[in-house]
Symmetry: C2
Subunit: 620 residues, 2 copies
């Protein structure tokens, strides 16, 4: 991986910073967050501004350019990757390390007195704007909204915003009509005395209307905004997309059943002026809900007295709790996904000794096998297919220049997933096709113990996911090891593979308590820089548990694994496992064999079936 | 326990709310927090305003009185106690339960439009004022500062503010002079470009000046404020207290060595005007540090442009990390404390079968035995001495009307501690002097497993205490049980038994990472309402750990128990313990026997020594 050469680009950008038409004085620093106007994690090529300016293409990172400096903040998943993708014009700021300054502190330390710091108000979230603005102001500087994006100004060949075909989802996939979702949303609004709700997150809008798109790679979403009032539904989207009669019928655009369920459509770009118009007509006590992670631009379009910011929206929470239909779909998607992975691993076992499988070809094979499954739409994120030292790059993605050949001498880590119409998958397995070293097995076993500790945990109703994070680390910690990423994230149903508002992380954020129907990942790991990476990831469903007692009638919860792919026994040092942990492995493998075995048989994939049977032998 | 009759009091208070001289309209609601002007947890009798108005005397709780309603919010430790101490005029608001409204939500639901909510600005913390004011304002009400406390207005026999003799502590106890503490504080201020620091917490002021008082029961503190600038130290205290030549000499009041280490003294009451004067003379860039938990009154005396609020002060953090001298003192204090408790338990074992030991007499005996130890000053909190059902009242304190006799049929829980000049202790043991039931043993063993899981945990440097909380609960959760309080709190050194900024709790707050030298409690429990209570509490010291590996050179930490009192083996169901847990118990008991045994022998307390030897037999 060679770094992007950014000297000339930075020179051009600094020129635009000095000569911005909206300000008489130069902009001393310009902040380039990684998101789009919807604060999406994955973004369309036209929105990859941070990557364009610095070369680093990971999913999280913020670049800041001053007259003298250029620095980029990212987290532990990306330290290695970022250092390889950025040239010497850039300073990598390793978030989470004690010695790394925050963006605010760094700016304050490098800026001359009374500096102007610019940012695109559509790209920065309202809460981030607020924190940054406060810190800068208290140090005598100011944060200013620059109407035109300065990266776009120097990006001559910037791609167009996508506008892909919309796909409608019927009740057999969603379990609930968009009309009923609107009604439930309005009930929440009534309960909290809210007049209007502004939806800005693309997955929430797709979920609300039971529509999917393909505007962003891996995420079946489409560029849109929605504003819902008690008697009004306004959808902002490229209007060309609504000419499809199937979509028109689904949304009842031509013949709404009830006036309050009639959707008014507007061009995507008109959301700002339309929201301003709505706000101009508000009564003195009217309140507008908007997520505090929505863009600063849209948030500030709502006058402060009417604005009611929330850490996550009612759609976000409703979407997180899957209904019976969605759970059935997610289970089916995971069985199909397991079929593809069993085939992949059986194939790898045969092919690796021939020496002609690479990280890229293994990833391609995985995609090919998945694409043979019913209702396959695409991948849910770029496959992490990594061998040996590449495995230690947490969010590695094989490129021709880094591509390694799989051998019987190195640990192989594959983190992959797919979008099926009935559900989204995300699974990581770490395998050795020869003889793993004692240290590799030891680390794998600690990671497995952490995985099991979370998966088998029983905890009271009302428990937040972050309280489970340490369970995943205890075995590693005991040996002085750890991993620098969270343990789990919410997973959408034929939606984004990462979604809120729940998760399992040492970072405490405003997560909601776990409740039955929520689906999260359980993915502890261990990464030995320059040597190997280990991660064991299942997607798990929150289900009620029935322990011996029921303190204060609170009820208990636990997890049911949806992912049903064998965990390689060869990598385990079974002497380090307790009897309970061995029982968990055996019961898990029994279910893999029973459920996925039946499907493999039905699909006539006998070689993979043989592999599954061999890999699910009980351990003693 | 009979409730306080509050009908007439409430009538009088509502009359003052209607006729407050500072406002033309009535005050519709009046908030009575539990603290004093220093936001102390334990308070002097003159500050027990919340107790005076509602009868509930637990350490945490807020009362709110409106024209029609009177409600009191407290947490799970106090649900039973509060319901017993308050009469039917009061509604108990059980914090932490889903159905319990927040104070803000409740006020908004009961108040008529455009209401005035009053509070004493000296008693409410600045951050609480801010949150409450924001919530009320957004609902069309207003929060107003009422200069005279309205409880004091109806409290005819209110006690005087105490002004006890000051005690000076030499380097043999503190390890560092107050002059060096000031110098270190100023270094932090320089680092953060801060001109002034306002100290309002009584324990921070006592720690800073190496002085102790006895103004508040159990807490060796004295009423004072301090304001420190780069060339100025101002101490606000009842000036009579400074006539003692020992104190004058300690503070070098008459012959300061260096001008910048010269202390100016002012009357306690003049802090507000003096702070105003300091602020009036500030330069445009001068910043003043004040804790965001300081009183609203004092915080607002600092103009907003100069105010730099912090979640905890540099003194709070410095005080939390004990130096070598303090650690030595804390260890000695815990050995003496263990001597007293071994004697107590040996005595109880003999006396209980005679039927003449009660909760109160057992607590008195514990105090008597502690008072025989060197450098004993007093108790560090009211002893919780509770039998059977009283044990389920988490912060129970025996009163004549609730006093039960200890028998061989019920579980006995004693949570007690003392102030010695060399350190502060806090220990809970749960014992059965007959034959415990299988369920009592089962619950005790789960609590023990949780206690060990925290105490033996190894975790990376930089870990915050709240990440360890679930370790204490995992065994209980697995059986559907839990406890409704945190797992641990910081412990002062001859200072408050509860101190920040670290702790172990499911409540995530702005806690600082644990570091070597910090001292916290480890006290999981289980409470079966109407039947029994179990808690196992040690005070533990954060120490470096040396596990097999050292990931990224971060280093690891663990805990060393300072408390060395046997944990009753009779209460354990050893079948539920793993070998590792049994090893921990045996090693802990070996240390108790070795360290406390030697001291018992030195003091010639042979009966207690016999008891200790018997209670520390290894389990198999």
């Amino acid at each position: 991986m060679s770094p992007k050469i950014t000297g000339e680009l930075l020179r051009l950008l600094r020129q635009t910073m000095r000569n911005c038409k909206y300000f008489s004085e130069p902009i001393h620093a310009y902040i380039v967050p990684s998101g789009d106007a919807h604060q999406s994690e994955y973004i369309a090529p036209c929105d990859c501004r941070r990557e364009y300016i610095c070369g680093f293409n990971g999913s999280a990172g913020t670049a800041i350019i001053t007259e003298q400096h250029a620095a980029m903040w990212t987290d532990g998943r990306y330290f290695l990757q970022a250092s390889q993708q950025m040239d010497s014009n850039w300073t990598l700021m390793k978030m989470g390390l004690k010695e790394t300054p925050s963006q605010e502190d760094w700016l304050i330390s490098v800026l001359p007195e009374n500096s102007k710091v610019g940012v695109d108000p559509w790209i920065i979230a309202a809460d981030q704007w607020k924190n940054m603005s406060k810190a800068l102001t208290s140090a005598g500087h100011s944060l200013v909204a620059v109407p035109d994006n300065l990266i776009d100004a120097v990006w001559t060949d910037r791609p167009e915003r996508p506008s892909t075909q919309l796909r409608t989802l019927g009740l057999e996939y969603t379990g609930i009509s968009w009309q009923d979702k609107i009604t439930k949303l309005r009930a929440k609004m009534t309960e909290r005395k809210i007049s209007w709700f502004v939806a800005t997150a693309l997955d929430e809008i797709a979920w609300l209307f039971n529509l999917r798109g393909a505007d962003i790679n891996y995420n079946p979403v489409f560029f849109a905004y929605a504003i819902v009032g008690m008697n009004s539904i306004r959808l902002f989207v490229d209007l060309k997309r609504l000419s499809d009669p199937v979509v028109r019928d689904h949304l009842q655009l031509d013949s709404p059943s009830l006036p309050e369920l009639s959707i008014q459509t507007f061009p995507y770009e008109s959301v700002y002026t339309e929201l301003q118009a709505i706000c101009a007509a508000l009564g003195p006590r009217d309140k507008v809900w908007i997520c505090d992670k929505a863009s600063c631009a849209l948030t500030q379009a709502i006058p402060k007295v009417h604005r009611s910011p929330i850490p996550y929206t009612p759609l976000c929470l409703a979407k997180a709790v899957k209904n019976v239909t969605e759970i059935k779909g997610m289970k089916m998607a995971h069985i199909k996904d397991a079929v593809a992975l069993c085939e992949l691993f059986a194939w790898l076992e045969k092919e690796i000794p021939q020496g002609n499988v690479t990280e890229i070809s293994a990833a391609d094979k995985a995609e090919e096998l998945r694409s043979q499954q019913a209702d396959f739409v695409g991948l849910s994120f770029p496959t992490i297919s990594s061998v040996g030292p590449n495995g230690a790059i947490i969010h590695y993605r094989p490129l021709p220049e880094t591509n390694r050949t799989l051998t019987v001498n190195e640990v192989y880590l594959i983190d992959s997933g797919a979008q099926y119409i009935d559900g989204t998958t995300d699974v990581t397995r770490t395998m050795h096709f020869g003889t793993p070293s004692a240290f590799e097995k030891e680390c794998f076993t600690y990671v497995l113990k952490g995985h099991i500790a979370v998966s088998a945990a029983i905890f009271p109703n009302g428990t937040k996911g972050h309280l489970l994070d340490s369970f995943a680390r205890a075995a590693l910690w005991e040996s002085g090891l750890d991993y620098l990423h969270g343990t789990g994230h919410g997973v959408g149903c034929f939606l984004n593979v990462h979604e809120g508002p729940c998760g399992i992380s040492y970072k405490t954020f405003a997560d909601e308590p776990l409740e039955p129907g929520m689906i999260v990942s359980d993915e502890p790991g261990y990464y030995e820089d320059g040597s190997f990476g280990i991660r064991i990831e299942n997607v798990v469903l929150v289900v009620p548990a029935k322990p011996k007692y029921n303190y204060r009638n609170r009820g208990s919860l636990t997890f049911e694994p949806l992912t049903l792919v064998p965990i390689q026994v060869k990598m385990m040092n079974t002497e380090l496992l307790t009897q309970k942990e061995k029982d968990w492995v055996n019961e898990y493998h029994r279910r893999c064999r029973e459920v996925v075995g039946a499907e493999l048989e039905r699909q006539g994939r006998m070689e993979a079936l043989q592999w599954l049977i061999r890999e699910t032998q009980p351990i003693m």
